[in-house]
Subunit: 121 residues, 2 copies
């Protein structure tokens, strides 16, 4: 692991990344789009059942504003929108992937004693 001099005060690379990815939902939304390529508003509601409509709309709006997602609106009724990753958004794959990997390992190691995986004594 190499060592260099960084100044987290200004231009800290980790902070730059966090600027786009921080917030509970954003990385999960991105993660889902890496899997599915495309998602409609209602898809996200299904994929993230605990997010509220308000939050979902807001996070999507911010991701679009940040240039990570693009939104395609079909002029039809009932309305239809599609979200997908821009190339810029796709460039975050290493970050999201690292999170996924680590989380996978963590989940295995800390597999919770749920009704499913604990044999009834």
């Amino acid at each position: 692991m190499e060592r260099r001099a960084y100044d987290c005060a200004e231009g800290c690379p980790v902070e730059s990344t966090l600027q786009f990815v921080s917030g509970k939902w954003k990385s999960v939304i991105l993660y889902r789009l890496f899997q599915e390529q495309v998602g409609r508003y209602s898809d996200f509601e299904r994929w993230l059942p605990t997010i509220s409509a308000r939050m979902l709309a807001r996070q999507l709006r911010e991701l679009v504003a940040d240039g990570l997602l693009e939104k395609k609106i079909y002029a039809q009724v009932p309305p239809k929108t599609e979200y997908r990753l821009t190339p810029f958004g796709q460039s975050l794959w290493p970050v999201i992937s690292a999170m996924e990997q680590w989380g996978r390992g963590y989940n295995l190691a800390h597999a919770k004693a749920t009704s499913a995986d604990v044999p009834a004594k």
Copy 2:
């Protein structure tokens, strides 16, 4: 990029990771420790000049509680404490590293026009 079926509702690996790393300061603190190996409370104050004492203490406490950092208190006056990564904390290196890499690239691409790098017309 392979595709598998995940359920972000329960046991989403990305969410598991976020649980430990989310929050503006935590990943930056970890990042710093990956560079420096050891840090005293006052070191962090220097490294992250914009964090408040209250936040710093709180984030460190949480990182210790989560098992990512260990805290060593020297019984001397004035007091001295040292924080370093536990093996569990070190296992997050791929995540922090990916963030650093991406942020580095982003900073290069979006190098802001500061007084330093803009010749005075």
